[in-house]
């Protein structure tokens, strides 16, 4: 069997997820025996256009990005969103909380109209995405698990239960008991609860779980003296694209 051809692409992002891919090679150098990387601008000069799997890091933030995305979708049998920017919009979408004109004026002053930009959005707002590797940045081990699953023709195993499950397994003291705020109850697990384990509340970089128990979350918030509005506002760090409408609704109430 010939090795599947793989390419990496980046849009608006910090490229930290691609670096995490490079880091995965420290412990999994044999990955390179299983796939052939034909394009990876950050790490190699060669640019092959014949690929079956496309990993895309970054958000779509300007109309001209769409043409590049359509081209990738046309070529690739499998498109994987790599990390929070591609999966959710991530921090790039924070600008969507401000009027676009204001953001451009603020940064570019009287040159604002020279800059092409629109509301930042996840990749699946533009093209169909077959698999996601969540997180900001992605988790190295999860990346390897997803690649293995794809090589075996299986659906990649991304958890759909909340972070609290993993946090409990780590035997962490719940951060709410320590007077801190955490989005773990409604955020997708898979990172090993890395932030709570290091004393910091979950910031929701892996996105909402499919069916969050909103009532339970409300109870937790009430106990901690917080409102839904405040919780939703916290969710905007990575999930503005997903919660913006909800915020408008809450405001209207």
């Amino acid at each position: 069997m010939s090795k599947p051809k793989v390419a990496f692409f980046d849009f608006a992002s910090c490229e930290g997820c691609q670096l995490t891919v490079v880091d995965a090679l420290q412990t999994h150098l044999d990955l390179l025996d299983a796939v052939e990387i034909v394009q990876f601008r950050e790490a190699m000069t060669e640019k092959g256009e014949d690929y079956a799997v496309a990993f895309i890091e970054g958000s779509c933030t300007r109309p001209s990005d769409e043409a590049r995305l359509f081209k990738i979708r046309e070529q690739a049998a499998v498109v994987v969103a790599l990390g929070a920017c591609a999966h959710l919009g991530g921090v790039n979408a924070l600008k969507n909380l401000h009027p676009l004109e204001d953001v451009r004026q603020w940064v570019y002053g009287d040159k604002a109209e020279w800059y092409e930009t629109y509301e930042a959005r996840p990749i699946d707002a533009v093209i169909q995405v077959d698999a996601v590797i969540p997180g900001c940045p992605i988790d190295r081990e999860e990346f390897v698990r997803v690649v293995k699953a794809l090589l075996l023709g299986k659906k990649p195993p991304v958890p759909d239960y909340p972070l609290c499950v993993e946090c409990k397994l780590k035997e962490n003291v719940c951060l709410f008991h320590l007077g801190k705020f955490c989005l773990g109850p409604v955020t997708r697990a898979g990172c090993g609860a890395i932030c709570p384990t290091h004393g910091d509340g979950c910031e929701g970089c892996r996105g909402l779980i499919p069916h969050p128990n909103e009532n339970a979350m409300k109870d937790v918030l009430a106990e901690a003296g917080l409102t839904v509005e405040e919780a939703v506002a916290r969710f905007t760090m990575f999930n503005t694209y997903q919660v913006k409408d909800r915020m408008v609704e809450e405001e209207a109430k």
Binding site: E15, G16, P137, C195
Partner: protein, 428 residues
């Protein structure tokens, strides 16, 4: 007469998107420049309205390679704005974390991105077959530096445990001891690294410029200190704008910076030019083996200077572990802000050069932010170098010119995602 047309669309083995454009018609240079085509990201605009506790976590996302540097500069800006004085333990842990990132970034650049040029290959991947030992050594050093960052910050990219006034997690004494031993063991890998890079045929090219970095009298400065330049200027960090003087160039809308001349350079070579005396003795030995001493004026040697800094950070890292182990490491509560309103600037000399963050807070909410990134400060100098180099090599074959220019831009280790947190080039 010579006619050269080079358009390197999306230069590879750099972080971010940029193009080299050269147009020579009948011996006359029409165009010779590096253009940035990365998508703008608007960080300064969208951090407005966020809590002071979120700023370092958001701005670390400017860059995946130097996220610890951005987080640290961000924390220092916030702490200066809100009257927070971090403890001795916090200062030591931040330095150690910073060293981890510097080693990580430099090993990535020197081994993965620069070395392939000298070995005539397009990436590090073919080297796995031909130079397995070299690749495995690079992976070992990279793993060590990543593990060092993770021990302190929770993970390397986008550190978790760094917060205003301190940390939310602490390494154990045993973890520190083990890490110190690994740093000591890494000396052997660094010796071989220095020897390897000493054999590389660095391209010859001299163009003196102004070199800008942080400076401290008692240590090789990476976090805090004063801003100094090789032209003899010195400023407190709060006056960073006197150095950066952002300006616009007619052919692009990217802001560049200049100080005493039309351009200045930041990064490993600039730091070494200004702070050679403060290097660790073993790093000075490495510099001697690589033939480096101030004043270095060949920008290609920036990559060699990075090798020297890796040696420095490993040695200084061993000493910081000693100090932490001697004084004992204790979980500490972060220092609370004295006020929630105010303005502050913070600076770190990150892998690619001096970085500034500057915020204004009202009631704990950010209302204004400015970040000036090393790569932006280098753009004017990159272009000045390209224009000085081109006439010297103009009669060479086009492929050789292209490679020389690519290697020159790559030597600066440009971080284009960083530089477009704010700026972008539109073709006019």
């Amino acid at each position: 007469m010579t006619t050269v047309k080079i358009d390197v669309h999306h230069l590879t083995r750099v972080e971010g998107h940029g193009d080299i454009v050269i147009d020579v018609q009948n011996g006359e240079i029409k165009t010779c420049r590096f253009e940035v085509v990365e998508a703008p990201r608007f960080f300064e605009a969208f951090v407005r309205g966020r809590s002071y506790l979120e700023l370092s976590h958001i701005t670390s996302r400017i860059c995946g390679i130097c996220s610890v540097g951005h987080a640290t500069a961000s924390l220092r800006a916030t702490e200066n704005a809100l009257g927070v004085e971090p403890s001795e333990q916090t200062v030591l842990l931040r330095k150690l974390n910073f060293h981890g990132e510097l080693i990580d970034s430099h090993v990535l650049h020197t081994y993965y991105l620069v070395a392939p040029d000298f070995l005539g290959v397009g990436s590090v991947i073919p080297l796995i077959e031909t130079h397995r030992e070299v690749v495995e050594r690079a992976l070992r050093i990279k793993k060590l530096s990543g593990d060092l960052c993770a021990m302190i910050g929770g993970r390397h990219t986008h550190p978790v445990a760094l917060t205003v006034g301190g940390f939310t997690h602490f390494p154990t004494e045993q973890e520190l001891r083990d890490m110190q031993q690994r740093l000591i063991d890494a000396r052997a890998d660094m010796d071989v690294t220095v020897a390897l890079f000493a054999t590389l045929p660095w391209p010859e090219f001299e163009r003196e410029t102004e070199y800008v970095s942080l400076h401290k009298d008692d240590e090789y400065a990476f976090i805090d200190g004063t801003i100094v330049t090789s032209d003899g200027f010195s400023y407190p960090i709060s006056e960073y704008r006197k150095v950066t003087n952002e300006w616009c160039v007619p052919f692009s809308t990217a802001k560049w910076t200049k100080h005493n001349r039309d351009a200045y350079m930041v990064g490993a070579m600039a730091r070494m030019n200004n702070n050679f005396d403060q290097l660790h003795p073993r790093a000075k030995e490495a510099a001697a083996k690589l033939g480096l001493k101030p004043l270095m004026t060949n920008s290609y040697l920036n990559s060699a200077a990075q090798v020297v800094e890796m040696v420095h950070c490993i040695e200084d890292g061993i000493e910081i572990c000693d100090r932490l182990l001697t004084r004992g490491i204790q979980p500490e509560k972060p220092v609370e802000p004295a006020t929630l309103s105010g303005e502050g600037a913070g600076s770190c000399d990150v892998p690619r050069g001096i970085l500034f963050h500057n915020y204004v807070y009202e009631d704990g909410i950010c209302v204004r932010a400015n970040c000036i990134i090393p790569t932006n400060q280098n753009w004017a100098n990159v272009n000045a170098d390209m224009q000085a180099l081109l006439p010297q090599i103009i009669d060479k074959p086009q492929d050789e010119i292209r490679l020389a220019m690519e290697m020159l831009v790559r030597a600066y280790d440009p971080c284009i995602s960083c530089s477009t947190h704010l700026l972008n080039v539109t073709f006019v």
